[in-house]
Amino acid sequence: MSGPRDDATPPPEPGVAVTEACVRREDLLDTEYEPPDSELEARIAGVEAAVLGIDRVSRTDSFFELGGTSLHAVRICARIERTLGYRALPMWLIECDVLQAFAARIASEGMGVDG
């Protein structure tokens, strides 16, 4: 199967480029990159970057401004659940489109899927 599997690529470690990325963040946005503030933010940023096909996501970036759609939200949340073990509702990403807010929402409400 060569389709866009949500769990095909493990989440990158902080600071590690996403291999499947094809677009540089700075080609999309003029704002300055701010690195993740926690390991969870870093791992969620990695998932967002991988699904959106960009090299990195700043903690201040809006999912929508990076081209995110409802389908992307579904895929991002599915991958977060599979690889990070957190519950994540796609609507949380739509409500909290900035990475740091989305990560905070997951930290507060996305209890571990595996318990």
């Binding site: 866009p4 759609t69 389908l71 895929r75 599915a78 509702l89 796609p90 609507m91 739509i94």
Partner: protein, 267 residues
């Protein structure tokens, strides 16, 4: 220490849109305790009173002292039901609506068609034929809202599953992704169907209806003691990012409604 800030309940459905949001009024910076009620996971109740009761329960508002309920667009009917539920003080809860309108069958059909259009665009496939038009007639929506939602879900999931399978997802992945995608749109469609099934309770209070310059509903709000229309020059997209609107709402909520009535008109 007891929080004495006036509590404002906000019903403004989340999601990306061109129009500014009630949150853009930044009323918390004017001393209010602003609580946004429409957050995931959403209610799946199909009538406005039940949907409103669900919101009151989830947000533990049974004992809250609420100063006002604010609502945007087609969420207004549910906001009114919320106001009736939290209306316990001597002074009726204030209701402030922005470009509000009652939900119609045509509006539900239109939003369903928009959901299909957006899904087709995201899935990179052609838009399906509007095979569901017949399920949105007033009789079906009124008598069998559960059936209307069931058919919408069936068609949205089927459409997305076909597109994803054709795009090389395997069947399990396609089914899971299609279902999750459809549920995102169904959250909104259920909200509209519930708002359509409103009872327009007379809670004893009045409505301030703030309007952009775009054409919209300007009638007396059903169930309100009286309706104060406040026309603004703001384009629809900018209504809620206009400083004058924030100041006017603040003045109204602080029981200095003269600026409202002076600039508005009584319906």
């Amino acid at each position: 220490m007891t929080d004495t800030r006036p509590v404002l309940l906000v019903l403004d459905y989340p999601g990306r849109r061109e129009e500014a949001r009630i949150a853009d009024l930044r009323l918390q910076e004017r001393g209010y305790d602003v609580r946004h009620l429409l957050v995931a996971p959403f209610s799946r109740e199909l009538d406005a009173p039940s949907y409103a009761r669900d919101l009151v329960r989830r947000h533990r508002l049974a004992e809250a002292s609420v100063a006002a309920v604010l609502s945007y667009c087609m969420s207004a009917a549910i906001a009114q039901e919320v106001a009736a539920l939290v209306n316990r003080d001597q002074e009726p809860v204030r209701v402030v609506l922005f470009d509000a309108e009652p939900v119609t069958p045509a509006a539900v059909a239109g939003q369903y068609a928009e959901a299909l259009r957006q899904m087709a665009e995201q899935l990179d496939v052609g838009q399906p034929q509007p095979w569901s038009g017949q399920i949105f007639d007033e009789d079906a929506l009124t008598r069998r809202p559960d059936e209307v939602i069931r058919r919408m879900r069936q068609e949205l999931v089927g459409f997305a599953t076909s597109a994803l399978t054709a795009g090389s997802y395997d069947e399990d992945e396609a089914a899971g992704t299609a279902s999750a995608l459809a549920e995102l749109y169904l959250d909104w469609l259920v909200h509209l169907v519930a708002a359509y099934h409103a009872t327009w309770p007379a809670w004893g209070g009045s409505v301030v209806h703030v309007l952009s310059r775009s054409p919209g509903f300007t009638g007396p709000w059903p169930g309100a003691r009286e309706t104060h229309l406040v026309r603004t020059a703001a384009p629809r997209a900018d209504l809620l990012s206009t400083a004058e609107v924030a100041a006017m709402v603040d003045a109204h909520l602080r029981q200095v409604p003269t600026s409202v009535t002076r600039s508005g008109e009584r319906a």
